[in-house]
Every structure is written in C-alpha cells, then in structure tokens.
C-alpha cells in the first residue's frame, strides 16, 4: 500500500478538479473558433470564386456574341463579295473590337479562305470547334498556344449562313487569353492569395505566373475533387509543400460547362487564411498555460496552508509524547484546525497541571515514608537488644541442659554395657545347662 502525504493529495485533487474544466474549455474554445473561422473563410472564398467566374463567363460569352455578330455581317455572308473585300472587312472588324488576335474564314473543306494574320498552324478540318461550327453549332476551342509569335489563345468558331440559312463557311475568331486573365489577375486575397483556373485535364488556363499556363497542376486529386461539383472548397498542397485552401466555382451556362468546363479557384495559403485562428489559438494556449501554472501554485499554497498547522500539531504532539508539556501551538486559521489547536493547547495545559500535582504528592509521600522508616529502625534496635538478652539467658539454660544430657547419656551407655555382659554370660551358661 502506497502512502501519500496529505499535501500531495490536496495538490492532486486541486489539479484534477481544476485541470479538467480547464482542458475541456481549452479544446472546446479551439474547436469552436477554428470551426467558425473556417466556415467564414470557406464562404468568403467560395463566394469570391463564384463572383470571379461569373465575370470570366461574361467575357467568354462576349467572345461568342462578337463572333456571332461577325458571322452575320452582310459582307462576310455575301457570295458576290471578293476575298479582298472580305479580308478588308475582317481586318476592320478586328481593329474595331480590339479583342481578336486573328479572324479566319474557312470553307467547308477546312481550307482557309482568308485570314487577317495567318497565324494558325494545323488543319482546320480536324479541329473540333470547326467541326461543331460546320454542323451549325457555335463552338469554342480549348485554350491552346500558337507560335509566331507565341500566344495563348482561345478560338471561337461560328457558322456563316447565306440568306437561305444554308451554312456556307465557318468564321473563327482567336482571342488572346490575356483578355480573360485581366479578370483573374487582379484578384488578391491577403498578401499571398490569388486566382487561377484549370481545365478538365487539370492544366492551368489562368495563373499569375504565365509560364505555368497549360502545364499540369501538380496537385494530386485536385482535378477529381474540383470537378466533383460546381462549387466548393478544396484543400491541397502546392509544389512548395505549402498547404493551401481554395474556393472553386465553375460556369453556370450549360454550353460553357460542356465546351470549356473550367474551374476558377481562389487560393490562399492556409497559414495566411487562418492566421487569425492561429492567433486566437496561441492566445488560448497561453491562457491555458498561465491558468495551469496558476492552478499549480494555488494548489501548492493551499496544500501548504492546510498542511502547515497539521504539521505543527504533529510536532507538538510528538513533544508532548516526549514529555515536554510546555509545548504550545499558535495557529490562527479561524477554522476547525484553530479549534483543534486550542483544544490541544488546553489538553497540554491540563496535562501539565496534573503532572505538577502528582509531583507534589510524591514529595509528601516521601517525607512520610522516611519518618516511618526511622520509627521502625528504632523499634528494631530495641527488639534486637531484647533478643540479645533472651539469647544469653537461653544460652545458660542450654548449657545446663547439655550437662544434664551428657550425664544421662553416660548412665545409659553404662546400662547398655551391663546388659551386653549379661547376655554374653547367659549365652555361655546355656550349653552347660543342656548337658545337664
């Protein structure tokens, strides 16, 4: 069986019942603060992503609208206008709109009829957006790069119809992605937050660092997660091993969802996004630690306060046990322990009185014993004297008796000798008698 001193028991109890609510409060506060701050941040990131993606959507839709307007241009639709006239018209329109890098008119075999810049490499007939337009459906290309000079573009193809509504050609307008990035590049969240977009293959189609455009987003599971729903929150680790949080949103118009399916992400390092939560957390930890230390000190002091008078009592008891009845305890705790100390002092006082009385009784008794002893001594001496006298008298008588005894014994011995002679004489006479 372990023996635990009272002070430790008191400290443990204080710690136990003080620490338990402190720990519970600590974690509940952290959880609640983190939860509410996370929700607030998630909502703000998602809302912003939705807002920005709707602006991107507006820009993309305006590209559609502009190319559709272009396809309705009477000169472009005209069968009688020469290619030079058409080229002059598309160049004029290109300058007027200011968003097109190139406008190309393509025949139904995929051959370029006219182009404002001829910057396009590759066969038109194998481009999906051309095929869609040829089938009568306005279509937009994936983001792609053209060389000469190097540009990242989006191409929108729209059918050109004659007056009877028959498709006679396809017109394609190339839009520099810079126009789209104007919407996303201005987004700044805190110091490190930014906006970017990925397509369904997981390639960046908008990113503050241009060299990353069309590179694969190197975040595992990122595409699957962001394309699992149209809007939400994603947590990922970027290429610098930095934990990021992002609110994402996709287009709302069905046509754009089918053809582009981009996801706009407003991303921010978690360290920055939850800096406030971390400050709160740190403060709570400090409060907890201070509380813990305070609790420890209080427990120690209280333990001492309770145990110190008891220790005094123990020391005093030990003194009394050793016979030191003058021990007195001075305790002013104002509680039961003070009462106990007073009772103890009283008890000690009573014990002291009893002992004094006992000692006085002992002295009286000793004097009495001494007097009696003297009397007895004198009596003994007298008796000894009388005994001596009697002894002397008895010795005289004894001597007389001894003389008498010795006389008696002599006579007896003479008698025995005579009897023996008599028997011997009789014995010697017997045989003679028989003979006779």
């Amino acid at each position: 069986m372990f023996k635990i001193v009272l002070r430790k028991k008191i400290i443990f109890l204080f710690l136990l019942f003080g620490l338990l609510p402190l720990v519970i409060t600590f974690f509940l506060t952290i959880v609640q603060i983190q939860k509410s701050l996370r929700e607030t941040k998630n909502n703000s990131l998602t809302s912003l992503a939705n807002e920005v993606v709707s602006n991107v959507e507006k820009t993309v839709r305006s590209v559609y609208t502009d190319v559709e307007l272009l396809s309705a241009n009477p000169l472009i639709r005209s069968k009688s206008a020469s290619n030079e006239e058409k080229l002059s018209e598309i160049k004029r329109i290109q300058d007027f709109y200011g968003i097109f890098e190139d406008i190309t008119l393509i025949d139904l075999d995929g051959n370029v009829i006219i182009s404002s810049t001829y910057k396009y490499r590759g066969e038109w007939k194998n481009k999906q957006w051309y095929q869609d337009a040829k089938q009568g459906k306005s279509s937009i290309s994936p983001v792609h790069i053209i060389l000469g000079p190097y540009k990242i573009i989006l191409s929108c193809a729209v059918p050109v119809k004659d007056e009877e509504g028959k498709i006679i050609a396809v017109i394609a307008g190339q839009v520099n992605m810079e126009k789209i990035w104007e919407t996303t590049n201005d987004i700044k969240i805190g110091e490190k937050g930014f906006a970017f977009m990925v397509n369904k293959e997981g390639r960046f189609v908008a990113y503050p660092e241009k060299e990353k455009i069309l590179a694969l987003a190197p975040y595992f599971g990122f595409v699957k997660e962001t394309f699992s729903k149209n809007s939400g929150i994603i947590n990922y680790t970027d290429e610098n091993k930095q934990r990021m949080i992002g609110g994402f949103a996709g287009f709302s118009q069905q046509k754009l969802i089918e053809q582009l399916a981009w996801r706009l992400i407003i991303a921010q390092p978690e360290s920055e996004a939850f800096a406030l939560a971390r400050v709160f957390q740190r403060q709570i930890i400090i409060i907890f630690l201070v509380g813990f230390v305070f609790l420890l000190i209080i427990s120690y002091l209280l333990g001492n306060k309770i145990v110190a008078p008891i220790k005094k009592l123990i020391i005093a008891t030990k003194k009394i046990a050793a016979g030191k009845l003058e021990a007195e305890i001075k305790i002013k705790t104002g509680d039961e322990i003070e009462e106990l100390a007073e009772s103890f002092n009283q008890m000690a006082g009573d014990l002291k009185k009893s002992r004094t009385a006992l000692e006085e009784s002992k002295v009286v008794l000793e004097i009495k014993v001494n007097a009696r002893t003297k009397e007895l001594q004198e009596l003994a001496e007298k008796l000894e004297e009388k005994v001596g006298e009697r002894t002397k008298e008895l010795q005289g008588r004894l001597n007389e008796l001894e003389r008498f005894h010795r006389l008696t014994v002599g006579r007896e011995l003479k008698m025995i000798e005579l009897k023996r002679e008599l028997r011997e004489k009789r014995g010697s006479l017997e045989p003679a008698k028989d003979k006779i």
Partner: protein
C-alpha cells in the same frame, strides 16, 4: 493505489489533449501518386502504315494490353487533333521540328526514362537532339529524307533535280506531299535557296513557283496514297519520303527514290506522349517495347526506313543498311537540312498564307 489512479486520470487528460490537438491541426491525407500498372487499353495515333506488320499484335500478346490504333495522313491533322483533345491518345508520332513546336505549345508530357531502359539502344547521333535537348519529351524512331520518287519508264531527265516536278510534260502524273513545310521547302530548294528560308522575297518566289506548279499536280496527297499510285504507275514522279519511295522501288523496278542534287529535308520521327495522356505508364512500356532490337528491326525491315536504333542493325536487312537513298553518303547528307524556321514569327504567317493560297 490512489496515486496510480490519480496519475492515470491526469495522464489520460493530457493524452486526450495531445491527440485532440493533433486531430484538429493534422494535415489532410495526400492522395497517392498513380501506380505503375499497365492499363487495359492504349490509344496510339500514328502515320498510316508506320509500324511493322505484327508490331501491335506482338505488343498486345506480350503485355495483354488492347491497342487502339488510329492513323493520320499529315502532321497538321495530328497537331489539330491533339490541340482539340490532348487526352484522346497515349502515344503519337511527330518529326523533329514539330516536336519542338509541340513542346512550345505545351502539348507533350515529360517521359519517365526509368520506364524505357531500351533507350540505350538509340544511336548516339540521335540522342539529345536539337529539337528536344535531353530527350525529355521524345524517343527517336525512324529517320529519313524528303526527296523524289521517279519512274524511269516515263521520266526523261537523268539528273536528279526538283525541276522534274515542274516539268509540264508530266502534268497530272505528279504529286506533292500534303505537308506545308516539305512543299514550300522543296520549292525553295528548287530555286536554290535554303529549305528553311525566312526571307520574304525568297518565300514570295517560292509561292510563285508553287502556284506555277499547282496546275501540273494531281494534288497535295498523303505519302501512302502517293506510294501506292507510284507502284501502280498512276503517278510517274512524286514528292516522297525516303521510306515510302524505297518501299515502292522495292515493289516496282522502274521506280527509284532519289535525293535531288539541290538537296532536301532530313528528319527524325519520334514517339511522344501527349500531355493529357490517360495511360502514360503503358505508353512508356509500349515505347520501350518498340525500342527492343528485334521489334525495331522488324519495323525497319518492313517500312524500308533508316533506323535510329543502333542495336537493331544486326537484325536489319542488309539491303536497307546499304541503300544510299536510305542511309545517304556524307556528301549527300551535307545538302540535307533539318526543317525549322523557329524564331522567325513573321515567316510562320507567310508559310501559312502560302499554304492557304495553294489550297
């Protein structure tokens, strides 16, 4: 006993605290990177008839992967298809300069060479090429030249020259390849310029020459259609690639593949992986298979193409190895140019414009 109990309770509290704290602050679990497992299918996009007769079947048999092979007739077709959907194919083939362009266009994935140990079989001349330093995106396949295939039965000229394709006597019996750079390059060479000229005046003259030639042509056609019609003598002379030209010459003794005296293009075809490939690991396993000496030699023996695979030479038909039209002599090689006008942005527009006007 009581001490143990109290210490236990305090310990539990501290433990709960520590676990709780780490639960609150722990990082989300990172998904694992894709494993190196073969996929059930592999989507390959290649020139028409540009593997061996049993290459695909052999791969399917050895690895249990179903290969979906689609073909194209021109590199522009392939480029447009990949631009439209980079996820559609896992392996594609393109020549040197297009490889460089596709890298610039961010259409190609980086190849994991750990999965292609047979890369060591490639000849040193073809490693670390100018169009893809370090072979980060490309694995050399076959190489060849662009020249002429002529039928001596019908062609009077004895001197090998591009001028044969401008001879009005052969109107309707000659064709050009349907490749912008090859065609404009041929015209530039015919005029005595560099096949990669970016000089607008020279390009203007090339355009005029091509416009002059256009009425004589049956058309701008793909290499296989030209090859077959040369064999059947529907065509008398044509712009050709060395492989198709030599293949045709092997089938019809009147035919000969020639490198014109003015020179022509030399090119190296490469196996590539589009950036959006769905089965990248299987694509790399396929490339490694293609680089096996026996597989590579079988392909070269069938196609009649010069091979970049040095280790396959021992198993290659000696006729091919000794054919100077396939492995040109040094003096001829000096006249050959790799295609490419990278850096001259204006020239690209001129090339595109000439090509558009020819159609």
């Amino acid at each position: 006993m009581k001490k143990i109990l109290i210490a236990g309770v305090v310990l539990l509290l501290v433990l709960a605290g520590v676990i709780g704290y780490f639960q609150l602050t722990k990082a989300p679990k990172e998904p694992e990177p894709p494993k190196k497992e073969l996929s059930a299918v592999l989507n390959v996009y290649n020139w028409e008839d540009y593997f061996g007769t049993s290459t695909i079947e052999d791969f399917e048999k050895d690895f249990g992967v179903k290969v979906n092979l689609q073909t194209y007739g021109s590199e522009d077709t392939m480029l447009s298809t990949i631009q439209s959907d980079p996820t559609k194919y896992d392996v594609i083939i393109a020549s040197d300069i297009l490889v460089k362009e596709m890298i610039s266009m961010k259409l190609l994935a980086q190849i994991d060479m750990e999965n292609i140990p047979n890369f060591k079989n490639i000849g040193n001349d073809f490693k670390d090429p100018f169009y893809d330093p370090g072979n980060k995106h490309s694995i050399p396949y076959m190489w060849g030249t662009s020249g002429l295939t002529i039928n001596h039965k019908y062609i009077e000229e004895t001197e090998p020259s591009w001028s044969i394709l401008w001879n009005p006597k052969y109107k309707g019996k000659i064709s050009m390849l349907n490749n912008m750079q090859d065609v404009i390059g041929a015209a530039l060479k015919y005029l005595g310029y560099s096949a990669n000229s970016v000089n607008p005046a020279e390009l203007e003259k090339a355009k005029e020459a091509l416009l002059r030639q256009k009425p004589l042509l049956r058309g701008y056609e793909n290499a296989l259609a030209i090859r077959d019609d040369l064999i059947s003598e529907k065509l008398w002379a044509s712009h050709s690639y060395s492989g198709e030209g030599s293949f045709a010459a092997d089938k019809n003794e009147n035919l000969e593949y020639i490198i014109p005296k003015e020179g022509g293009f030399i090119w190296v075809d490469n196996l590539l992986i589009p950036i959006g490939a769905q089965h990248k690991y299987t694509a790399e396993v396929f490339m490694n298979f293609i680089l096996r000496p026996d597989v590579s030699a079988k392909i070269a023996n069938y196609l009649w193409y010069a091979n970049t695979n040095e280790a396959a030479r021992e198993l290659t038909n000696p006729e091919i190895l000794q054919d100077p039209s396939l492995y040109p002599l040094e003096e001829v090689r000096k006249k050959l140019e790799f295609s490419g006008f990278i850096g001259a942005d204006e020239a690209i527009a001129i090339y595109n414009q000439i090509w558009a006007e020819l159609h």
